[in-house]
Symmetry: C2
Subunit: 351 residues, 2 copies
Amino acid sequence: MSDGASVHPKSRGAARRAQRRGPTMEDVAEVAGVSRGTVSRVLNGAFHVSPESQAAVRAAMRETGYVVNQSARSLVTRRSGAVAFVLSEPQDRLFEDPVFNVLLRACTQILAEDDSSLVLMLASTPQERTRVMRFVQGGHVDGVLLVSTHTGDPLATELDAAGLPVVVCGRPPDAGLRMPYVAADDRGGARLITQYLLDQGRHRIATVAGPDDTAGGVERLAGYRDVLGARVPDRGVVRATDFSIAAGHAAMAALLAGCPDLDAVFVASDLLAVGALEALHAAGRRVPDDVLVGGFDDSAIAPATRPPLTTVRQPLAQVAAEMVEVLRQLIDGRPASSRVLPTTLVRRGSA
Amino acid sequence: MSDGASVHPKSRGAARRAQRRGPTMEDVAEVAGVSRGTVSRVLNGAFHVSPESQAAVRAAMRETGYVVNQSARSLVTRRSGAVAFVLSEPQDRLFEDPVFNVLLRACTQILAEDDSSLVLMLASTPQERTRVMRFVQGGHVDGVLLVSTHTGDPLATELDAAGLPVVVCGRPPDAGLRMPYVAADDRGGARLITQYLLDQGRHRIATVAGPDDTAGGVERLAGYRDVLGARVPDRGVVRATDFSIAAGHAAMAALLAGCPDLDAVFVASDLLAVGALEALHAAGRRVPDDVLVGGFDDSAIAPATRPPLTTVRQPLAQVAAEMVEVLRQLIDGRPASSRVLPTTLVRRGSA
DNA sequence: CACGTGACTGTGAGCGCTCACAGTGCCAGA
DNA sequence: TCTGGCACTGTGAGCGCTCACAGTCACGTG
């Protein structure tokens, strides 16, 4: 008995190891009475494994409580099974925007369905940007979902130059980028709601546009102009400094000052519209009686404003799903192209 | 000279490899004229490396564009350098709540400062919960930041039972859990604002409380009761079904029906307060003239309501920082204890 | 002058996995 | 009966890193 330890040094070591730090494939193989390779095969859904072996392996996995070691797997496959969700925004205002949350949530969920995970990263400062680049190039993630709203975002350029799998949310403002994007049809949606305001018999339709270095700012204004053409009222366009409530308030006040006889306004986002409604209220204008208000996004706040906001719905869950799908294609080396998804009008009390 | 190529077969191979899939430590070592071990030492900030070697290695890293392979490192260190941010919520309403966003953003940023990353996970369904457990136990992350608001959350129990490093946000409703938490002083904050309403000369102070399976629901109501005691008006307490705008509206309407002569109301969250303000407006009550309204959170929406919301400020950035710090301690095997951070009153127009 | 000492460096043995390849056994067809 | 093919299985060689250990070298010190 005294040499029992030295007789089975290896198996005892394996047993100790198994309990200390979780079972390995080797342990599972031993329990199932097969080899490492067979375990690997059932794990990876490969063919050429007999039903009996398969059952034995599965039972052994259950019995031992086996979980794959992703580090070991990644080391050889060079796939991390993770994707970075990068918010590239000078100020991180976007975090307050319900649109962003919905997108983040949807992406997380969709990735999870495929057993991938989402790593959230911020890239507001140059240091953060460097970190993102190192992270992605270091193979921590297989690809990037980039939420970047600003023209000339250096991160987009760097990622693009490095040839990494990247999908952008929203039409990228820089035409030079090769990477595909997934966007809602901003321009079409803006046309939709502007036409709707027109159809309500309003003639002096102004707009609070978004910042001109964002896709939402540019495209939605373009859609508005598509419909109104020369009928855009004098001083009827004011740009908000960002997509916040406060900016909406300020822009609406400016609009009222420059174009006091407006009878409808298309506001480029719901959050801006919340501010605009306040400014209208403060100025004693009744909505919708005196002024119709149309928003954009159909975010969670839209049905909760006073009055409830008529707005344009972005299919965000679908945007998320398509972004993930396109990214998958890129990661797998398949060709991928950009996609634009239709927007729809949602009528509520404000217009 | 003719055998130059064959003299350095290894170095040529290394060079080829380096360009194919990124340089390894071996490549860096070769360029620096040192060994793998020395490179590893400078990488890990170890001592016993001569300044010359150190400089050579750093130069070689720069020259080759070396980035560590985290998979390989994790495989041996059993540390992933990542942390899971898990949102464990039956319905994922919380995603709409600005409070949650601020917390998520702050955690991401703080972790990034230490070169760790944040993996976002949802755990609404049993399947998702299983996935989280496998993920954490599989060593994908070193610990968990758990944002769970509901009593009897099975994930909290499972994580706790598994003895994994976990920090909960908010006082965990279940007393049986061993894991530490970081919370804002909900009860103290509720006392603060209730006392403030009292000090304004109001005597019929009602409350819209949060769900009773959440810390915010329980603690804030307790603070309210601490101050009012027997002075809580008859039918002056209504529970919201969740922390949403719609629930706030419904609860406030119910409150007005049961307790029509109320002259102030403490609403357990800003989002609820938005709904409550609407309900009051719909009922023709003026705020703050007829009814004072106090919220809780001081989220981004508070200054943007009509009138701006007097509320209780939660130090969310600090909560995030402390959560990360406590989790670090846990991961490093150091003892860690729960922390409660002070809340403060923010006066605006509604009270 | 031998020898311990301490700073520094190189080396081998893995971590747990996948992948390519080399078996093994079984059956149909020659 | 032999052979080729097929379904299935085991095995070795790494992936790139860290860690423990075993050097090496230049110093003092006895």
